[in-house]
């Protein structure tokens, strides 16, 4: 291993670590045990996947994944707030 291939290892490691993190978050979504845990898992999942998009963008050398990551960040936030609100009150818009 030379110093030149170090960035390649870093990017690969980051991708694997983030994929594993996404798998852990998915585990929490599937297992629960309560509804709050599932929403928390979803929250973690969307942040992780968004970061994975950035790392993949670095690997592929395309800047276009940024827009996708931004969309995930916005939509993920809105959906999680709606879910949390629903759990608390039983309806989204009061």
């Amino acid at each position: 291993m030379t110093l030149d291939s170090l960035p390649w290892f870093a990017v690969t490691y980051a991708q694997i670590a983030l994929a594993l993190a996404a798998a852990f978050a998915t585990f929490r979504i599937l297992v629960g045990p309560r509804a709050e845990d599932r929403v928390l898992g979803l929250d973690t999942l969307y942040v992780t996947v968004m970061l994975l998009f950035f790392v993949t963008g670095l690997r592929l050398g395309t800047p276009f994944l940024f827009e996708a990551a931004l969309a995930i960040a916005v939509v993920g936030f809105v959906s999680n707030v709606a879910l949390a609100k629903f759990l608390m009150r039983g309806e989204v818009i009061e």
Binding site: V11, A14, V47
Partner: protein, 116 residues
């Protein structure tokens, strides 16, 4: 081959370090999500990923694209600020939801309502 190979060595090392630190923190946060036992403990776990986990990866992205395009590319900051402002909202709402539902279900060890 990645675009990172086009960077000078010092910058490539910095970006590699940031990527490793950021992804490790995010992974640890998600690991905590699986491992910790109570919900109120688990609510702390994702903040690892949303604070320095995200910040390190966004910084790596900013440095790389700024170098490659020869100008300051800082639109990753938008995502960073968005995360900074939105994660507290989600976590606060989730925490209150959990309290509310636990109190209604009469779970032991949950503090009573602050409204007296």
């Amino acid at each position: 081959m990645t675009v990172l190979q086009g960077l000078p060595l010092w910058l490539a090392l910095l970006v590699a370090l940031l990527l490793v630190v950021g992804s490790t923190l995010t992974l640890l946060g998600a690991f905590g999500l699986v491992r910790l036992r109570s919900f109120y403990d688990r609510i702390h776990a994702p903040t690892l990923g949303t604070s320095w986990g995200a910040a390190a990866i966004l910084l790596a992205s900013i440095f790389t694209w700024s170098w490659l395009e020869g100008r300051a590319v800082v639109h990753e900051l938008v995502v960073g600020i968005l995360l900074m402002c939105t994660t507290p909202v989600t976590l606060m709402l989730l925490g209150r939801t959990a309290l509310h539902r636990n109190r209604r279900a009469g779970v032991e060890g949950v503090p009573r309502s602050l409204k007296r």
